[in-house]
Amino acid sequence: MGKATVIPFGPQHPVLPEPLHLDLVVEDERVIEVIPQIGFIHRGLEKLVEKRDIHQFIYVAERICGICSFGHSLGYAETVEDLMGVEVPKRAQYLRVIWHELSRIHSHLLWMGLGADAFGFEALFMHCWRLRERILDIFEATTGGRVILSAVNIGGVNRDIEDSELYAIVDKLEGIRGEYHEICNAFVNDYSVASRLVGVGYLSQEEAEALCMVGPFARASNVAYDCRMLGRGGYGDLENFQPILSDEGDCYARVKVRAAEVEQSIDIIKELVSKIPHDGIGEKSKLTPADGAMASNVLEQPRGECYYFARGNGTKNLDRMRMRTPTSQNLAGMVKALEGCELADVPNIILTIDPCISCCER
């Protein structure tokens, strides 16, 4: 055994699109301890609720993170609707779920691309991102934005998607599904991918539960938890929803879980489009939250459970808004999975938890 050395990793590092700093304590080629340091993207936006009213804050909320921007505006809107007891029409709820699932597809494809880049398969990275642009085209056609959509308001959604357009989206997704299978084939059946990922960064079910892991990271360690099971909004009307699990707990399992979730999302959209009601898209609520009213909410983001808490103070501003995002939960598991790994596997393990640092630090 050699002497322990500390290798700084990040905040600016080729494999990381985002700034995260790790001190890796290594002995020879083996990582024995990992000390994360965060805070490079902290903006302090929870405190902005004091300056922006509840309707303006929705635009701040969706800029918590550009990848799951729709999810954050949705989670925030649902929480404030609970706070004020606002009823949202069914059609608006369905549309929200459709956009949210489209975001999940785009987020997972984005991640699969970055993951491929981390293990050095650049052609696969390019193909994932090429396919992802087709989802962004749907966003652009339905909301006008590519990554920041601004489609939700408190009480409903800003824009309707006409039925004919919804069917066209389903057709498009079916087309994407074919191409997606080809990409998945490379991930799931290519031995070179498997040789980089199988058995790397193992996290057992007990560890995942003890560290409160969430999202695909936890589901790859066989933790059967997915907030969509709770059936809020449009999810409640799904015939049958089962979280996708794997009991292998390594990087490869995380890839497989996410790969299957993309197809699951396509199925969800298809099912909801086939039974979407026509009861209007709701309108912006005129209420203000009561003094001392409190509400909380969980939402399954592409990266896992995100928790929202809001407290009113009788004015059009909120007294407190709090989010706990999936990555801040998952960092503990990442540190655990990194311990004992080889130095060359560090980028893969970091990427397979799908870190979203700007969510995490807000």
Binding site: Q12, P19, F40, H42, L48, V147
Partner: protein, 148 residues
Amino acid sequence: MSSVSKSPWVIHYDGSSCNGCDIEVLAALTPLYDVERFGIINTGNPKHADIFLVTGSVNEQNISVIKEIYDQMVEPKVVVACGVCACSGGIFHDCYNVIGGVDKAIPVDVYAPGCAVRPEAIIDAVVQGIGILEEKSAALAAAKKKGA
């Protein structure tokens, strides 16, 4: 020097952005927009880079990192601020931890606005940056001649 300006390499750093602009910077590099066909390559090494793409605003924690990357880049170099956050602080301008746009830390040559900035706007800004790069390298060469 024209060889440099015909295929500039870029380096990207995420200040305190929301990721929206980062994924658009990456989207500009991938097949639909594909700036690699112009010889523009994304590198992780500041010493190899000619153009510095910064997304997101400057805060207490990252100001030193941004300055450090800028200092490590060799002359001539161009800085492009991508997105309104990088231009001015944007929607977060009055958050307590946000100092302001990237120009609070390092000199910025081109501003590419938008929230999120569109890949087309990034490509435009980079093309504009190439012009500035050329001017800067001509100025450097002239100064060298004078010195010699």
